[in-house]
Symmetry: C2
Subunit: 308 residues, 2 copies
DNA sequence: CTGAAAGCGCTTACAG
DNA sequence: CTGAAAGCGCTTACAG
């Protein structure tokens, strides 16, 4: 039976009569026969599957990234195994190696803070790897990033053009790549405008509510008239806190989000484009899978300011 | 080499000296050897992989669902292949069969409007399938649903208790399962309160902006003092439109979303719990994979009203 | 208990 | 051109 099926499926030309072919096709359908993909994998080495290792698939930025990657993959006949590292380097490593054991044809990952050196053997043996949102550490992977620093400069310029000079910054944990870049953009944005950088206006921490409350109060009493929040969670918490302030504080947020346009007072944001990032990452990966051996690529996508 | 590795990895007891074992372990590491999962699949028939077929992984509700499913799967050592059907029955079918060809140990799907009868052979041959958010058509799959109708009754009760009797309803396409359930809840909620159902206050359509504008105007001129929006996209569009109305319109929305608490005026919502739905679906699937042959299950999760 | 050999289901190189 | 046979890399049933 299975041999016949294979014959029919592979060469739909002569040799077998039309009637027989139809009979077999019907048998395939009624018996629910599906070729065993794993057997083909064993023979050909190709899985038509890629791995995607994100921080957390439940978060909007990451899921939009994943949606774009899946779309490109689907267009090319690939499926995507998605795993969340929850920002834990050990889980990242375990999951990445599980994906490699499944012989994915390529891997897109949002690296955690740890080193990705453990993936070197995989790359050397021909599995292409693309890092997205942050660069990989100790691994010569292709990379797709947002221009975090340029975005933060836009935010600073925008506020300065509105007359602000005391601009606070509420960033994320300072050990994250994006934090470093955004803080650098903030500082150079100020310096470019001839405004001194004041350390008492800069805070970098995980977006926990209590710490944030303190930081915001410190900003205000240091005389800040505006604040930039450096990531979505901080933005959400800050939105609540800012409303309760006696004096209004102009707020610009890094990262757009659904409904940002509906807030009152309106919120100006720096928007990354997760769909474009995902598409770029997936397309880079796909061309590597097809055999592109060109030099390592670093794709940096501009961010834009949406003034409100 | 590989044989030795297998020997070491499978039985880490006697027979091989500690020194040799360490040498081999080091060799594994330096050569980057990873057992080929597909070969094992071919032999054992188990992939330790499940399939997840959602409408669109980029949408918040679906990605939270996916996050919970992935978490349960990861706990049990399973990976998840995620595919988006984009509400297209043909893509659903193609993707589902691609997953079956990869011999996933089980499948969770958010069914599209089409029939899922094509999956019967898979179920019969032992692949468990769980439908989530909507029931599968023509397929005896386990099912995990929100109690849409109960949620809509909560919304109606809430508005009636505030004195509203002219309550409009802006639903989604009427052919969706959730639309049918929510509309039924709206109607029976009104009837339970002794309020007649007025067809001129009921609209069901895809959440396209222009159509919605007309519907909302029609509601208002029919005398509605409150409106319930039946899905997130309609809610977002309606939020903008309602602000522009001359007379205030009390608004209750089906489905919670990030930042709903920050809106002005505040928005009362009926909240589903996608994480719990995902967890229930994944746990049901996992127990089926483990061999649970009990009767078909239908799990219905309550929704709750968050008054603001 | 140990170790060689069979076999999972495909694909493809090869003999006829 | 056709068709039987080898082989991908594991796991496990089986012989020694």
């Amino acid at each position: 039976m299975k041999v016949m099926v294979m014959i029919i499926m592979n060469k739909n030309q002569a040799g077998v009569s039309r009637a027989t072919e139809q009979r077999v096709q019907r048998a395939i359908k009624s018996l629910g026969f599906r070729p065993n993909h794993s057997a083909g994998v064993l023979r050909t080495g190709m899985t038509s599957t890629i791995g995607l290792l994100v921080q957390d698939i439940a978060e909007p930025f990451q899921s939009e990234l994943a949606g774009a990657i899946e779309e490109v993959a689907a267009d090319r006949g690939f499926l995507v195994i998605i795993v969340s590292s929850h920002s834990d380097p050990n889980r990242e490593k375990e999951s990445a190696l599980a994906l490699c054991s499944r012989r994915v044809d390529g891997l897109v990952l949002v690296p955690t803070v740890g080193s990705q050196a453990y993936l070197k053997p995989e790359m050397d043996s021909g599995t292409p790897i693309v890092a997205v949102d942050r660069p990989a550490q100790d691994l010569a992977a292709d990379t797709v990033l947002s221009d975090n620093s340029q975005g933060m400069k836009l935010a600073v310029d925008h506020l300065v053009s509105q007359g602000h000079t005391m601009i606070g910054y509420l960033g994320d944990r300072p050990d994250l790549y994006t934090s470093v870049e955004r803080l650098a953009g903030y500082k150079s944005g100020l310096l470019d405008c001839g405004i001194p950088v004041r350390p008492d206006l800069i805070f970098g921490q995980s977006p926990a509510e209590e710490a944030l409350t303190q930081s915001l109060e410190a900003l205000v009493s240091a005389g800040a008239t505006a604040v930039i929040t450096g990531n979505t969670w901080t933005t959400f918490s800050a939105l609540l806190l800012i409303r309760r302030l006696a004096r209004p504080l102009k707020h610009v947020a890094f990262d757009d989000f659904k409904l940002s346009s509906l807030l009152d007072p309106p919120l100006t944001v720096i928007a990354q484009d997760p769909r474009s990032m995902g598409r770029a990452a997936a397309e880079t990966l796909m061309s590597r899978i097809k055999g592109d051996l060109g030099p390592r690529q670093k794709i940096i996508l501009e961010t834009r300011l949406i003034a409100r």
